[in-house]
């Protein structure tokens, strides 16, 4: 095992890795930017070193400095967490050059999978399905018809320009192809100054479902039951569950084997995730990309398999063989993760940096809080707004959902707005309860701006505020109070900074 592990990250994932290292008996080194001196990961690690100013490019992305720290303090391995340097092949190679183990896959795997084109080619050669479509642009109406037949309806006409292929129109019937071709070309020309268009299968009710893989340096690799991550805002995951409500054992096996083929294409030798887009209608699945790191949502897979992915990833990097085989992998019950963001869900998920003036975290059976928060933390503006992940397990999907609702009701973060109340609303949504979700779920089910929505306890809120005001005014009248000595008085001004966002007319 390693002598000392440096974690080149911040926030909850750094805490997660530190916990794993503690349990493995390996000392840990944290690094921090000047904005993060007060962060929890600095307190949780055995050692901590400042690596530069607040902006990531001057600190968490400065791998030269991070390697310097590692050398100086005698760390023989670096865990990159997610984001920052986690999918940077150059960094992985620089670690190797210094004789430090990068806790992640081989650099080639990072490089191949980090590029949309090379990754698609690599997995396609291994027989992993891609979204059916053209790899070049259309040249004629006839060709459009021919390709449309080959791909199958419904199809999408996409613009080659505009980044990632902007969808121009969906075509359901053969007789509409010719007209759509002409219209799309002129639309694309008007929008992007380029009339190149191409065809791709239209995925109905697209769902994001992904497979966790775990490999070692001895050629062993296994896959875990899938995670469904279709609940997204701004194309970022908000709620994830495992297993997916629409995947049965046979589909699980097919997706798992496809994921293993993708992973084997790059001799994958660590924890990673193969992401698929799945048609909610036909349940066909197609490769999207492979993430060559531990993901935010790894805990839900841990809860249903009993595998400590974070720990196994470290052990595998240290040269240990996986302690289980594919046939040992369980799929036990159901797990759910809600990402707690410093965002206002009633106001277009705008970030709400500021000071956390009060914090109560949920407890009890099968509730797991993965957090970087503490009471008094000033959430910095420089980084991702995720504060914590709340994870629950239940023997059935229904019990999982009711447990999460219970846990959310115990979670109190004061001083800044968070996504906590929003999660509860998703978990009461009928379509969610029926498992009838796709990546458009939030956009179609919730109003982006809904600050005046009905809340059930308005009367109690008024009663509580009235008694609080009364006691304060009485105390003032009795001269018992100075300006700031009442409990929470000073801190409450943090509300000025964040809580009262919506009183400003600019929004």
């Amino acid at each position: 095992m390693f002598k000392k592990i440096l974690i080149a990250n911040r926030g909850e994932i750094t805490i997660r890795v530190i916990r794993a290292c503690k349990e493995l008996g390996v000392p840990t080194v944290a690094v921090f930017s000047e904005a993060d001196r007060a962060a929890l990961h600095v307190r949780a690690a055995d050692e901590a070193y400042c690596i530069g100013p607040a902006p990531s490019r001057d600190s968490y992305l400065r791998y030269d400095r991070i390697l310097e720290v590692a050398k100086a303090c005698g760390a023989d391995a670096i865990h990159p967490g997610y984001g920052f340097l986690s999918e940077n092949a150059e960094f992985a190679e620089a670690c190797a050059a210094q004789g430090i183990t990068f806790i992640g896959p081989n650099p080639r795997a990072i490089r191949v999978m980090g590029n949309k084109t090379t990754s698609r080619v690599a997995v396609y050669e291994m027989g992993v399905p891609l979204v059916p479509g053209m790899r070049e642009n259309l040249t004629s109406e006839d060709q459009a018809l021919e390709w449309a037949d080959r791909i199958g309806f419904p199809i999408m006409m996409k613009a080659a320009a505009g980044g990632g292929g902007k969808v121009l129109r969906m075509i359901a019937r053969r007789e509409d192809v010719a007209a759509a071709y002409r219209a799309a070309k002129s639309e694309s020309l008007a929008a992007f100054g380029d009339d190149a268009v191409y065809l791709e299968r239209y995925i109905e009710n697209p769902r994001h479902i992904e497979i966790q893989v775990l490999g070692d340096k001895h050629g062993n690799i296994i896959y875990c039951p899938e995670r469904e991550c279709s609940i997204q805002r701004r194309h970022q995951k908000v709620i994830e569950e495992a297993p997916s409500p629409i995947v049965d054992p046979e589909m699980r096996r097919q997706m798992g084997e496809a994921a293993l083929r993708a992973a084997r294409a790059v001799d994958y030798d660590s924890a990673g995730t193969v992401e698929f887009i799945v048609s909610g209608k036909s349940r066909e699945f197609f490769f999207l990309e492979m993430n060559t790191r531990l993901q935010v949502e790894h805990p839900i897979t841990e809860m249903i398999t009993g595998i400590d992915l974070c720990k196994e990833m470290i052990r595998s990097a240290a040269g240990y063989e996986l302690p289980f085989k594919q046939e040992d992998i369980q799929c036990n019950g159901h797990a759910l993760e809600c990402r707690i963001y410093a965002e206002d869900p009633d106001n277009r998920f705008l970030p709400t940096p500021g000071k956390i003036i009060g914090l109560r975290v949920p407890g009890g059976p099968w509730v797991r809080d993965e957090s970087g928060m503490y009471e008094g933390l000033d959430v910095p503006i420089h980084y991702d707004p995720m504060l914590s992940k709340l994870v629950v397990w239940g023997s059935t999907r229904e019990r999982m959902v009711t447990r999460m609702l219970r846990a959310l009701s115990e979670y109190a973060v004061k001083g800044i707005k968070t996504t906590i109340p929003f999660h509860a609303r998703v978990l009461r949504n009928e379509k969610f309860l029926a498992g009838d979700i796709d990546t458009n779920f939030i956009d179609t089910q919730f109003r982006p701006q809904d600050e005046a929505r009905e809340k059930p306890h308005e009367d109690i809120a008024l009663v509580a505020a009235a008694i609080k005001a009364y006691r304060r005014d009485k105390a003032k009248a009795l001269g018992r109070l100075g300006g700031t000595s009442e409990g929470g008085g000073q801190d409450a001004s943090a509300w000025k900074a964040s809580g009262r966002v919506r009183r400003d007319p600019g929004f």
Binding site: I381, K414, K496
Partner: protein
Amino acid sequence: MAYIATHQGRTTRVKVSEPRPGIFTVTLGDKDYEVDFLEPQPNILSLLIGGRSFEVDVDAAPTSDVFEVYIKGDHYEVEMIEEKKKKLAMKMSKGVTGRQDVKSPMAGNVRSVLVQPGDRVAAGQVLLILEAMKMQNEIKSAIEGIVASVTAREGVAVAAGDPLCVVEPWEPQFPVG
């Protein structure tokens, strides 16, 4: 004591008294509540109302009339002003203009300023873009009007509550310029 409570634009007359220590009577409009009150932790209230138990978080700056209330995950922003003070304030607010001071809703960096003093803007038009937590946030005008002044500078950091710009309402009956 009597207060005027304002929540989401609706006002309610509230009376509060403490007939016995720890027992409060609160009247909202014409509805009475008898409340067994305890504050076991600062700003965390335990209310028993007819046996029903509520854990309520109430925070307020010492000199503010705005109370930030949390109940079961939901957030309520309640203004609670002594009735006599409120009446005075109402009297004084008679001459208020429609001028809108656009303030920064969060700490961040001003990415780009899209308007200049004198510009006419539509309601909902983007005035400037603020960057915070790796996201770009559009700051829009709530009203149709004329940009009176711009305080924000591109590339400069702002704190929550900092003034960004001022928009005067567009009043077509008095043509401008």
